[in-house]
């Protein structure tokens, strides 16, 4: 009996146990549901965070190019070797292998990779071969990485335009700073799965976001003209032992800056080694009283308003003009009666004060404003200053005896250049700019900077008349040292006393020459100023020759026909005919189009131009300010179609060479700048489509203008 009760008790107690068991099991199951369903997202994130280490991938900084695609600022790869000491199990053998691969002493390597740190540099900025050697060792816990550094291949070339970027690729000055956002790009994110020991798990890396490379900045600069300008400025800067010097070359029709340089100059690769004031771009960051070159404003106003004619005569007081307010205006030479043309040409301050009196102060102020003085030009360079033009109600009684010849106002060189360029451009003031377009890494134009008209300053007729007066300056006036035999130059000299320590110095001058060339069909507006030249100081004799040399060499380089030469015709010559694009690559087409002032659009697949919407050799209207648009059809040309004989390309410019080679379909590789020196294949050899053709070029030594013209006509 007791047994039965007993058995029942066991049974009851086992049932109880089983119940407790089921309750526990349900607890566990409930806990699983809680963790795996309700907390799943949270834990997945925790797992993700500890397993995937996000790593920023840095984008390549955009390059800076000149107008034809030559690199002005680029990136070079530097190689680093780093280690994760906590992952290195055999330090001795790792150190030995590294030491052999890097050529670093064993002890040094060992000390760097010892310990249990997660990260240590083994070697920084090593040559590529060394980093490759390390990579090929495939050592546990050792990585070779690559970083980029900004490099300016031409060192001082256009340093003030380019500016420079710092160690972390941040733009600090110049275009590097102005266009920093575009150049920088967006960094990407790579998530790498790692195990708890920090080693990369050999599964596919989950790339979250690819880095977007920065945009390439295509400038309006022309490397050849920049080179010419810079060399000539440097020569004068040395010769006259100046404090500073500036030059800029602009296309007056578009406002495009073709060249810009300052002295003292610096190498942006080592910008830290130059004193800070060397970085200053005096063309836009400096303001000073311009002196005689400012006479342009009153002169334009006087002609435009009909206040004065070129042949009106004024008495120039024999060099000392006692004005109503007791101030004496002086001239550098004693003049008696002069015509307005002579006043401008000989740069008489007294005469100019009298001309301005006829114009009236209201009008003078209005023309100052029209030319854009007192406000920034809006050039796309950092730190532009506005200069000072006092509002009319703040003018003193003396103002009308100083402002007409460029005192009591301060201007920036770029403002002065823009003002003269406006005359060259038929009276329309263009906004100076340095950047032509922003192009992404695939070559797609993201943003294009069209020439921007600021305002009309005067009528085309007045512009013409003032141009003639400026030509007279060079022919007979203060600028005779500037004259070129085969080109007419229109310009104005300036010699400004510097205002120092509260008074005008008798010894410190800024000599300048501003003008454009050829006077009839201006291609270049050029500004040259020399700060405090020793020896000769008159603008016409110091800054003038710089202008002359730069103008001459630029005209030759650009194949601008001289006075007595026939205008350029088809077959790739001149700016005014449509070149043949057939057989060119996209890149070559873009280059050629830029040179020819054409706006092109590509159509269709393929990598060679097979057709163009405007026939080759067709005329382009020369005065047309707006670029002509044309469509290039891309395709793959039939292989055997193009075949021909290599022409003699020596002495031809790049553009001419391209035009001549286009029908042959050869792949053209240029080396160097300037005109073709040597070629391969040689002239006369039969070539066919796709054959590479190497042309080495050289900047021609400056010949006389007519010599340059001959090669062309």
């Amino acid at each position: 009996m007791s047994g039965l009760r007993h058995y029942n008790q066991i049974q009851r107690r086992i049932l109880l146990l089983q119940g407790a068991l089921m309750a526990s099991v349900l607890c566990v199951e409930g806990r699983l549901v809680y963790l795996q369903v309700f907390k799943h997202v949270e834990f997945r994130q925790l797992a993700y965070h500890q397993q995937y280490t996000p790593k920023e991938t840095s984008p390549s900084r955009g390059v800076i190019e000149d107008r034809s695609g030559a690199l002005l600022a680029m990136n070079i790869g530097l190689f680093n070797v780093c280690a994760h000491p906590n992952q290195i199990t055999d330090k001795a053998s790792t150190a030995e292998a590294l030491s052999r691969a890097l050529g670093t002493p064993y002890d040094e390597v060992l000390s760097r990779i010892s310990g249990d740190k997660p990260f240590a540099w083994v070697a920084r900025q090593v040559p590529y071969e060394r980093s490759r050697a390390v990579e090929s060792l495939k050592l546990q816990g050792v990585e070779a990485s690559r970083e980029q550094r900004r490099f300016y291949p031409d060192h001082e070339m256009a340093a003030h335009v380019l500016g420079f970027a710092g160690i972390d690729d941040q733009g600090l000055d110049g275009l590097e700073r102005e266009y920093n956002n575009s150049l920088t790009g967006k960094s990407g994110l790579v998530l790498t799965e790692r195990d708890a020991r920090g080693r990369v798990v050999l599964s596919d890396n989950e790339t979250k976001m690819a880095a977007v490379d920065g945009l390439n900045v295509v400038t309006t600069l022309d490397k050849t003209i920049q080179h010419i300008a810079q060399v000539e400025l440097e020569k004068a800067y040395q010769k006259y032992r100046c404090k500073a010097a500036s030059i800029a070359v602009m296309d007056p029709r578009t406002g495009e800056i073709l060249a810009l340089a300052n002295c003292p100059n610096f190498d942006p690769n080592h910008f830290n080694e130059a004193p800070g004031e060397y970085w200053k771009d005096r063309m836009v960051n400096d303001e000073f009283e311009p002196g005689s070159t400012f006479k342009l404003v009153a002169a334009v106003g006087a002609l435009e308003e009909g206040a004065v004619n070129e042949d009106d005569r004024f008495f120039c007081e024999n060099g000392a003009y006692h004005t109503d307010y007791g101030r004496v205006v002086t001239d550098h030479e004693k003049y008696g009666w002069l015509t307005f043309r002579e006043i401008f040409g000989y740069s008489s301050n007294i005469g100019m004060v009298k001309v301005a009196a006829k114009l009236g102060e209201k009008n003078l102020y209005r023309y100052c404003q029209r030319f854009g003085f007192g406000v920034t030009t809006g050039v796309d360079l950092p730190g532009e200053v506005s200069g000072i033009l006092r509002p009319l109600d703040k003018w003193s009684g003396l103002s009308m005896t100083t402002i007409p010849y460029g005192y009591e106002v301060s201007t920036t060189p770029i403002q002065m250049l823009a003002a003269y360029a406006a005359i060259a451009n038929g009276g329309v003031l263009m906004r100076p700019h340095v950047v032509k377009e922003l192009v992404d890494s695939n070559g797609k134009v993201v943003r294009e900077f069209e020439p921007q008209k600021i305002r009309r300053v005067c009528s085309p007729k007045t512009a013409k008349r003032i141009t003639e007066m400026m030509k007279w300056v060079v022919e007979k006036g203060t600028g005779t040292a500037v004259a070129l035999p085969s080109y007419d130059i229109a310009g104005k000299t300036g010699t400004a006393y510097k205002f120092m320590n509260g008074r005008y110095s008798k010894y410190d001058y800024v000599s300048s020459f501003i003008g454009f060339v050829p006077a009839e069909n201006p291609q270049f507006a050029i500004y040259v100023s020399l700060d405090d030249p020793r020896g000769l100081y008159w603008g016409g004799y110091t800054a003038g020759p710089v202008f002359k040399e730069v103008a001459k060499r630029a005209l030759v380089y650009d194949l601008v026909p001289g006075k007595d030469q026939a205008p350029a015709v088809a077959q790739g010559g001149g700016r005014h005919s449509v070149p043949s694009f057939k057989g060119l690559t996209r890149e070559q087409s873009r280059w050629l189009a830029q040179e020819s002032g054409l706006r092109i659009k590509f159509n269709g697949p393929g990598d060679r131009v097979v057709d163009q919407s405007l026939p080759a050799g067709g005329k382009l209207a020369p005065e047309n300010n707006k670029p002509i648009k044309m469509v290039l059809t891309l395709g793959t040309p039939a292989a055997s179609l193009a075949q021909g004989v290599m022409p003699d390309l020596r002495g031809k410019t790049k553009r001419q060479a391209l035009a001549l080679l286009a029908p042959l379909g050869v792949r053209v590789n240029f080396k160097g700048e300037g005109v073709v020196r040597s070629q391969f294949p040689p002239a006369g050899r039969t070539v066919r489509d796709g054959v590479p053709c190497d042309l080495s070029c050289e900047v021609p030594v400056a010949k006389t203008a007519s010599g340059g013209g001959e090669g062309h006509s």
Binding site: Q11, Q18, L35, V201
Partner: protein, 388 residues
Amino acid sequence: MGFKNKEQASPDFLMFLLTLILVTVGLIMIYSASAILAHDRYGSSYYFFGRQLLWVLAGSAAMWVVSRADLESLRALAIPGLFMALFLMALVCVPGIGKTVGGAQRWFRLGPFSFQPSEVLKIALVFYLADSLERRRQTLSNLSGLFPYLVILGICMLLLEKQHDFGTAVLLALVTILLLFLAGIQWAFFLIPLSILVPVFIFLVESASYRMKRITAFLNPWEDPQGAGFQLIQSLIAVGNGGPLGVGLSNSSQKLFYLPAPHTDFIFAIIAEELGLWGAGTLVFLFAIFILRGFKVAAVWGQREGGMFLSLLAAGVTGMIGFQTLINLGVVTGILPTKGIPLPLISYGGSSMVFTLVSIGILFNISRGIKMPLSLTAGDGYGALGAS
């Protein structure tokens, strides 16, 4: 005693099937969880898997032998067996004889294999308790009747304390209480083992700082995420990361050295991560069915005249496996403080596998010849012995 055709009758098929499934799942998951670790440490991703396979084969042989032994005649060995086990337990603590792994000296080294005497002790203790409680069941109504068991349990716990094996100590205490309970002691008597166990428990916890740490870590693992809470956090991350459907077999990322012991004590976390709630939940239910079935066997014998020894033996063995399972699952899912208890039949570990299989062999043996409907609870469908 003396059921004639017991030898011919086959063991409980359901339990056999569950054992087969669990061992197979275990082998697969050991490979999945340890392949990278094995490759990293031994150069072969099959290192742990291969060894475990050998242990499974050895354990299966032992299981087969045990399942055919005459358990009633083995009762004579209950007391010597217990003393033998206690002797081994003492021996392993002797410096130079026992092998120390992870700061705990609990292994004998036999050639390439090591073996844990506490596994022997588990079976020996259960065998001894079943035998002794059946013989002395009349004395259990007196408090003095409980005394020898408490002494023996105390000795066991002291030896385990020496080996820092707190988990097994808790386990043995639980099984002892379970068997005392089933043997029919009064409810009120439970106050006695409790009144002893609670101070012992507190002493054990306070005598070793790492235990205290483990316990506080369990309450709030994020308080010290790099230290005491690390293992639990990594375990919870694995379980939670698995989600409802899991990241897929072999795709666990927590086994990449984040979770310590991914193929041993924390293998269930990897299972939960790779197979998700679906797989892990099913596995828990398989264990539950197995344990319920074990208790069912105990219940069937318990109602029979003279079946109390086998009943207690079956319940003890089932309880041993069941408590281990629950403690392991509780630890991995953060319900219980961290203890070094493997998941029976699944976790990597030779001694554990062999002695679990031996335990199951005992269950098979006891279940042999019982005709049980596929019910699990003790109350319904009274099973009949094979003779009927």
